[in-house]
Amino acid sequence: MNTDALVLMERDGAIAVVLLNRPKQLNALSTELMDELAGALKDLDADEEIRAIVIGGSERAFAAGADIDELSRATPIDLLYQRRMENWEVIRNLWTPLIAAVSGYCLGGGCELALTCDIVIASETAQLGQPETNLGIIPGAGGTQRWARVAGKAIAMDVILSGRFLSAREALAAGLVSRVVAKEAWLDEAKRVARAIAAKGPVGIRLAKDAVDRAYESPLTLGLEYERRALYLAFASEDAKEGLNAFLEKRAAQFRGR
């Protein structure tokens, strides 16, 4: 493994662990890092053997934001031509479940990266926030939309307008993270969750992730229809037959991902 790389990637059975590697900058998301991250995730997403991906930083910081130095030197046309949103679209369009292992600073673009993931496991030291307004700008990678949808107006406005950070427990209460773990377990717990997901029927998992994501895109009636069609599709899979039969036969299911 090239430890000079901005993104460290490791396969571990049916899961992969992707760690941001700019410790001196607290993993500030430079264009270069985002390019590498999107590239690594795309490769993993294409590998059917990888059933869940953990994204993390270090115990000290998940990611403390965008690269301010880079931003301060950029013109709007620079930002357009950097095609920054494409990297975020790549991450958003993965069909492999993404688990964010968040410890320490998870701010600005770093927080938006965590919110783009499917599951967020926060260590007790995690601090989540969107301090862009301190710099005279706004969250531009989904922060305003995701905080409003997930946490509701009251918390979204407070965090985004005042620049305040949420502790791990506050983030749990606000619905941004689903588990708070001991500081030492920041990565191990995320891997544990990833392995549990990786052991389930991949067809069902991919369709379920898609259906939950869909809930934010359409009215309830349409969402319910979408879910039902996805269920019928899941039923068409060998995994569903295997899963249901295994349950009735009181044995462990052997999923093949078909």
């Binding site: 001196k24 607290l26 773990v181 001991a182 030492e184 377990a185 191990d188």
Partner: protein
Amino acid sequence: MSEVESASPTPPPTQEDEPVLTSRAGAVLTITLNRPDKLNALNADLHKGFAAALREARADDIRAVVITGAGRGFCVGQDLTEFRDAPDDIADRLRTSYHPNILAIRSLEKPVIAAVNGAAAGAGLSLACACDVRIAADSATFVPAFINIGLIPDSGGSFFIHRLLGNARAFEWMASGRRLTAARAHAWGLVNEVVDDDELPSRVAEVAATFATLPTRGVAMTKRLFDGAGSRTLEEQLELEAQMQSAATKTADFREGVAAFLEKRDPSFTGS
């Protein structure tokens, strides 16, 4: 990001002028509040020095911290002349000067011992109670002080003293404002140990040195587990124990502890 303080532009004052002094003895860092003529009353300069000392305490090779006061007193709380001369909003002062230091004591990943050498009053009492262990000199006294000028227990006093004494005693005592002797404080469980005045330095050094030989990571995790135990459910606490125990078994000190036990010898812990 460097943790080292940048050099000041003017010649640095002699150590004795500093409002907070630090000294090392092996893996023990002693932080001494140093305004003895004011019984170590807290002002902005002292808070700054204290913050710097607490940052110094974060170093991995420091495995126990002692906080004590120079001269007759431990710490008698907010300097009221500063209060009178610069009456900015107390809430801002608490948030910017006091709270970070109190929080730093709780988040230090090593045991913090308050060597209460004299009067601990007001925020000085809160400060002593924010530490993990309190060893008091026989003549030390504990004074709520806040209520005597119509104020509430701040700097964590309302939290720590309530936790140490239970609601009944904590409320009655803090609302009364009366002075407690070291003996009474010990009987109440506010203080872990009372020693003769002239034996305090040596006893604290002994206790601190012992702490410094323990598996520091295990001690730090124990500290964190206890800190939240009052507000977690049993299920949450059990889950946290499982996570931390898994991490504890990965430490060098765990391997050393088990090896020493099996080889029937004394362990030698490195704190990692």
